[in-house]
Amino acid sequence: MKKMSVFSKIYLAVFFSFMYIPIAVMIVFSFNESKSRSVFTGFTLDWYKSLFRNEMILSALGISLVLAFGSAIVATVIGTLASIGINSMRKTTRGIIMNISYMPVINPEIITGVSLMLLFVVAKTAMGGKIFGMSTLLIAHITFNLPYVIFNVTPKLKQMDVKMYEAALDLGCNPRQAFFKVVLPEIMPAVVSSFLICLTYSIDDFIISYFASGTVQTLPIAIYSMTRKKVSPEINALSTIMFVVILSVILLINAKDSQSQKKKKTRA
C-alpha cells in the first residue's frame, strides 16, 4: 500500500482537523480585539502585552522552571545511581524494586497526588510548622520523575556489554575511573534523555502539583486558576506562545536528527 487510498486521505484529514482546530481557534482568538471567543472583531497584540505584565503568570513560570530543573537534576542523579545499583542486584530483588517503582507510573496521578498529600499532612501534624510549598513540590516532582529515569537508564545499562567495564579494569582503571571513563559515557544518551523527560513532565504536571503545592502556584496551577475565571483571552495568548515554542523545539530536534542521519549515511 504505497499510495494512500482516498478513504485513508479523508480519514487522516478529518483526524488532524479534529486535533488541530481547537488549537487553531485559540491562536486566532489570541489576536482578537474583543473578549469574545466566537466573533473576531479586529487584530490586536494587547493580550500578549497584558500576559507579559501578568505578575501571577510570570512568577508561576519562574517557579515552574526552578522546580523543573531542580527536580530533574536530583531525579537524574539519584535515578542513574539507582539504575547502576539495581543492575547489579539479584533478579528477584530487582523485580521487587522495579514493581514498586512502577506504582507512580501505573497509578492514576490523582492517587499519587493525594497519597503524597496525606504523607505531608501527617508530617505537618508531627513536626508542625509550614510544610506545603516549594519543598513538598520538589519532593513530589522528584518522586514522579524518578521511575522514568530508572526505566530509561536500566535498559541502556543492561544493553551495555558487561565486558566493557571489565575491559576498563583490565586496562588499569579502578572502579571509580571505570565508571566515569567508560560506563557513564556509554549510558550518557539515556541519562540526557531522562533529564529532558523529567523537565517536560515537571513543567507539564498539574494534578500531582495541585495536591502538593499548598499556596504556591506553578504554571499549570496558574493556568487552572485562569480557566476558572469567566473569560480570559490571555490564556489564548499563552497557549499560542507555548505552541510556537514547542513547535520550534520539535522542528529543531528533527532537523538535527535528520542531519546526523544523513551524515551517518554518507559516512557508511
Binding site: 556489554d161 565486558k163 571489565e166 579494569l169 583490565d170 586496562l171 588499569g172 567508560v182 556509554e186
Partner: protein, 348 residues
C-alpha cells in the same frame, strides 16, 4: 619458551549459585608459551581465564604471578591484559583513543603515547586507522584494535577469551596465523581459550584439555592428538572410533570380534577398556587380507579424502581414505598395532 612458571593456579575452586564450575584446579603456565585452554562449553575454561584476569575471585585456592600471590589483587593491578570475546571496545572513543586508554590512565607523556599507539597499530596491521570510529570497523578490524589495546601496556601475559569466535572461517584462519606471529614477535605468554580443537592444535605450544571443571590432559598438540589419555580427549580432539574392548594380556586386545596386537601393557587380564582408532588409521584392503570386514554404508567426498561409514558386527566405523568404495560393497579393514590406542574406561 623457558621453564619459568609465570602463572600458577593452586587448587582453584569456583562455584556459581552452588553449582561447581572449577573444583580444585591446579595449573602451571610457563613463560613465553602459547597455552590454549580447550574444552566444550561449560568446561570451566573461560572461568579459569577470568580467575587469572582477576574478574572472578575463587572461593578457595590461590593464583600466583611470577611467584607472588595475586589472588586478592583487583584486575587493574595485575600485569595481565585481556582480549575479550566480543572485543568490548569503547564505542565513545576512536581507534587511537581505545588503544591509548591504559597509557592515558598511567599519565604517560603524550609523545610517548603516540609512538606506542602507532607502533601497536602497525603491529596488528591497522596503520592509518587511528581516527576511525570503532563501530564502523569490520569484525576482524575490531579484533585487531582489541589486541592492540591489550598489548600497548606491554603485559607479560595476554589472556584471549575465544577472540575469533565471531569471525568467519577465512578470517579466522588469517587471524590464527596473525596471533601466532604477534606472540612470537613480542615473545610473551598467551593464554588462549577456545572450544575449537583445530584452532588449539594449530597455534599452541601447550594444550590444556578441560571438561566439567577438571583438566583432562596437558600436552603439546602432537601429544594430545596422538596419545590422548582418555576417550573424551580422543573424541574431542579430532574424529575417533571408540569401541569397548578387552585386554587379553599385555600387547593383545580384543575388539570387534577379533584379537589385535597393540603396544599397550600394564592392564590386568580381561580388563574392559576403551579402544580408540583414528579414522585415517584404518586401511581398506581386499576382504581376504582384512583383519575385519564390513559393509560400506555411505561414502561422502570431503575434499582431501572420502569419509566412509562401514558397518562391522553392529559397529559403524568411520574411515578416511583417499580411495572411494561403493556403498554396499564388502571391504576388509586393517589396523596396525601403533594405531590402536587403549584407554581406561571413563567413569561417567
Amino acid at each position: 619458551m623457558d621453564d619459568t612458571v609465570i602463572v600458577a593456579l593452586k587448587d582453584i575452586v569456583v562455584d556459581f549459585d552452588d553449582e561447581s564450575i572449577l573444583s580444585g584446579l591446579s595449573l602451571d603456565i610457563h613463560d613465553k608459551e602459547f597455552v590454549t585452554l580447550l574444552g566444550p562449553s561449560g568446561c570451566g575454561k573461560t572461568t579459569t581465564l577470568r580467575v587469572i584476569g582477576g574478574f572472578q575471585s575463587p572461593k578457595s585456592g590461590s593464583v600466583f604471578f611470577d611467584g607472588k600471590d595475586i589472588t586478592a589483587l583487583p584486575p587493574y593491578k595485575r600485569h595481565v591484559n585481556t582480549v575479550f570475546q566480543k572485543y568490548a571496545l569503547f564505542p565513545h572513543l576512536n581507534v587511537y583513543e581505545n588503544v591509548a586508554f591504559s597509557l592515558r590512565l598511567k599519565k604517560v607523556p603524550e609523545a610517548q603515547i603516540k609512538s606506542s599507539v602507532l607502533e601497536m597499530l602497525e603491529l596488528v596491521g591497522l596503520k592509518g586507522f587511528e581516527r576511525r570510529n570503532t563501530t564502523t570497523l569490520s569484525g576482524g578490524q575490531q579484533q585487531r584494535v582489541a589486541i592492540a589495546r591489550a598489548l600497548v601496556g606491554h603485559p607479560r601475559v595476554l589472556l584471549l577469551d575465544e577472540p575469533l569466535g565471531a569471525l568467519d572461517l577465512k578470517l579466522r584462519k588469517e587471524m590464527q596465523a596473525e596471533l601466532k606471529r604477534i606472540q612470537q614477535s613480542l615473545n610473551i605468554t598467551f593464554i588462549y581459550v577456545t572450544h575449537d580443537q583445530e584452532e588449539a592444535l594449530t597455534m599452541s605450544d601447550t594444550v590444556v584439555v578441560m571438561k566439567g571443571g577438571y583438566i583432562q590432559q596437558i600436552g603439546t598438540p602432537v601429544d594430545i592428538y596422538n596419545e590422548p589419555q582418555n576417550a573424551f580427549v580422543a573424541d574431542f580432539i579430532g574424529e575417533s572410533n571408540i569401541l569397548s574392548g578387552v585386554m587379553d594380556k599385555d600387547f593383545m586386545v580384543e575388539f570387534g570380534g577379533q584379537t589385535f596386537t597393540c603396544v599397550d601393557k600394564g592392564f590386568t587380564r580381561q580388563q574392559l577398556v576403551d579402544v580408540v582408532v583414528r579414522p585415517e588409521d584404518i586401511k581398506i584392503v581386499p576382504t581376504i587380507q582384512g583383519q575385519l570386514s564390513g559393509v560400506v554404508k555411505s561414502v561422502l567426498f570431503k575434499g582431501v579424502h572420502y569419509e566412509m561409514i562401514v558397518e562391522q558386527a553392529g559397529y559403524e566405523w568411520k574411515i578416511h581414505s583417499t580411495q572411494a568404495q561403493q556403498p554396499g560393497e564388502i571391504v576388509g579393514m586393517n589396523i596396525g598395532p601403533d594405531e590402536i590406542h587403549i584407554m581406561h574406561k571413563m567413569e561417567d
